[in-house]
Amino acid sequence: MPLASYILRRILSVIPTLFGVTLISFFLTYMLPGNPALVKAGALATPEHIAEVERQMGLDQPVWVQYGRYVSGLARGDLGESAATGRPVLRDFLQRLPATMELTLASLLLAALVGIPLGVLSAVNRDAAIDHVGRVLGVAGVAMPTFWTGLLAIYVFFYLMQWAPAPLGRLGTGIAPPEAVTGMYVVDSLVAGNWRALGSSLAQLALPAATLAFSVMAPLARMVRATMLEILQSDYVTAAWAAGLPRRRVIYGDALRNAMIPVVTTLGVVFGFLMAGNAVVETVFAWPGMGNYAVTALMMKDSGPIQSFVLFVAVMYVIVNLVVDLVYALVDPRIRLS
């Protein structure tokens, strides 16, 4: 019963946050310079016509009524229209979502595969060479602008060494995308057994994913290290040592497993970093995802997509944090009892 009530309270706690998030994104749209009715009515519209369009769009209503219309529109999946593509923003988004998911998941995987072992090794060999390497990487990693890391990667691996393909999109030229299942080319080409597309999409993905991963790897490794240090000093680890359990078992079995729980709870924060990085990395590598779409739209003074992107990222952030907390509660009985 306490678990059920915890879950219910945690889900309810999302409501005021989502209210605040939609309020902020509404005001971002509301504050936009220019009259949207004017754009919609066209350059030759008469004042009466403009007034009519304003009435249709609800722009003559008080702010709070407009907010209500905005939220009910969101609930129906109406994110507005993009002036540049002339299509609903939601459709443009869904079309680009797989590209963004592919990049985000690949970099999350890469960051975890490098960051977690690095953090563990730094904690176990405290103040040894690996710890110092980890520290330097950590300090440098957070200070390097993501766009610059991406450009460095392009210069070194594409221009100088010519290991990587041209940083232009998700597939090499002349290669047809695999049959769509998830929309993520790497997964789809695996499913279809299309090795040519698989090779090309992996090669295209490597640099942007590594760039994005590098920006979150350092904080992840530091977090794992701090948690591991704390756990290695705890009583049960001391007891495990005293009982003469093998070193590998104590470190990787007992300590790391318990260290992973707090690390997983920070996944929401890592996700936030990744989404912010996405807009930049997608622009650098011409990756046709949502961030790239939003930035491109903004360049053309088309603000519908950008505000929807801002809202989307925040809502995803709230949901990811909610899911992480709920999973945490299911796994760790201490949460329910407190």
Binding site: P16, T17, F19, G20, V21, L23, I24, S25, F27, L28, T29, M31, L32, P33, V139, A140, V142, A143, M144, P145, T146, F147, W148, L151, L152, I154, Y155, Y159, R222, A226, L229, G272, F273, M275, A276, A279, V280, T283, V284, A294, V295, L298, M299, S303, I306, Q307, F309, V310, V313, A314, V315, Y317, V318
Partner: protein, 297 residues
């Protein structure tokens, strides 16, 4: 020794002792000292940019276009033959001033809002904290993108945008500190002798919350610079003719495929060094002001 005479010199002694302690700690911590020196040098460069720069940053010279680093142009030249080093030096002004102004504004607003929310508690606190949670759901760069779209990207607006992204962090920090100090005996004493609330909060309590705020603000300087640079890189922040390191990196990016590496490399390096310096000073300050955190990072 009379009791009355003791109080004044004791106060003086304490601040002098703190200075000595700070200096000793800095001397034992060459990394923090080095980072502090980098920041001082950057500030001096920003202040005396026209005297430090070897060339006029806007002076074009087709004869020297797209030259790699030479003794004449230490960091090379761009398409118009402008000196890369001089441009980077002049950009230091925007790159130091904008994050600094944003941090100062955010600090002032965040400290006041957080202090009163924490001191009064109740419904005000509830509303403020819900707003803070909602704002923290937006990654700083993403929120900044939305805000610049709404406000436009003049330098003044960039300052406001960067300030807005920072405010929630300070509000949360100060509110937490305030919850702690408002129960202390000296707060009780200040209330008992009939101080008005604003005086208790601003004069008596707020100064005791400042140390963690300074650490946060130092770290925030680096983060604000990164956010501004990313905005400008995307073409949404500082735009030509104003130059800024992120914007310069974007200009240089188009020259990568022809191999002119110095144009994107050096402005980015300037960003990294500056952010690194602020982060290291922030970490050093944290160790000094809050010994509990020592060794945990």
């Amino acid at each position: 020794m009379a009791d009355g005479a003791l109080s004044v010199p004791a106060a003086v002694d304490r601040s002098a002792a703190a200075r000595v302690r700070l200096w000793r700690r800095l001397r034992r911590n060459p990394v923090t000292l080095g980072a502090l020196c980098v920041i001082v040098v950057l500030l001096l460069v920003a202040l005396f940019a026209p005297w430090v720069a070897p060339f006029d940053p806007d002076a074009t010279d087709p004869a020297y276009a797209l030259m790699g680093p030479t003794w004449r142009n230490l960091l090379g030249t761009d398409v118009y033959g402008r000196d890369n080093l001089s441009r980077i030096i002049h950009a230091t002004r925007v790159d130091m001033l904008v994050p600094f102004a944003a941090t100062a504004i955010a600090l002032a607003i965040g400290a006041l809002v957080g202090a009163f929310a924490g001191y009064w508690g109740g419904w005000l606190d509830q509303i403020v904290m819900r707003m803070v949670e909602a704002m923290l759901a937006f990654p700083a760069l993403v929120l900044a993108m939305g805000l610049t779209a709404a406000l436009g990207n003049s330098i003044g607006n960039i300052v406001i945008v960067l300030a807005i992204t920072q405010v929630p962090t300070y509000v949360r920090l100060i509110r937490g500190e305030m919850l702690r100090v408002r129960e202390m005996e000296y707060a009780e004493a200040a209330r008992m002798i009939g101080n008005p609330t604003w005086r208790i909060v601003i004069v008596h309590l707020l100064p005791n919350c400042i140390p963690p705020l300074i650490v946060q603000a130092t770290l925030a300087m680096g983060f604000a610079l990164l956010t501004m640079a990313a905005l400008s890189f995307l073409g949404l922040g500082i735009r030509p003719p104003d130059s800024e390191w992120g914007e310069m990196t974007a200009e240089g990016a188009s020259q990568i495929v022809t191999g002119e590496w110095w144009l994107f490399l050096f402005p980015g390096l300037a960003i990294m060094i500056t952010v690194l310096a602020f982060n290291l000073v922030g970490d050093g300050l944290r160790d000094f002001l809050d010994p509990r955190m020592r060794g945990s990072r």
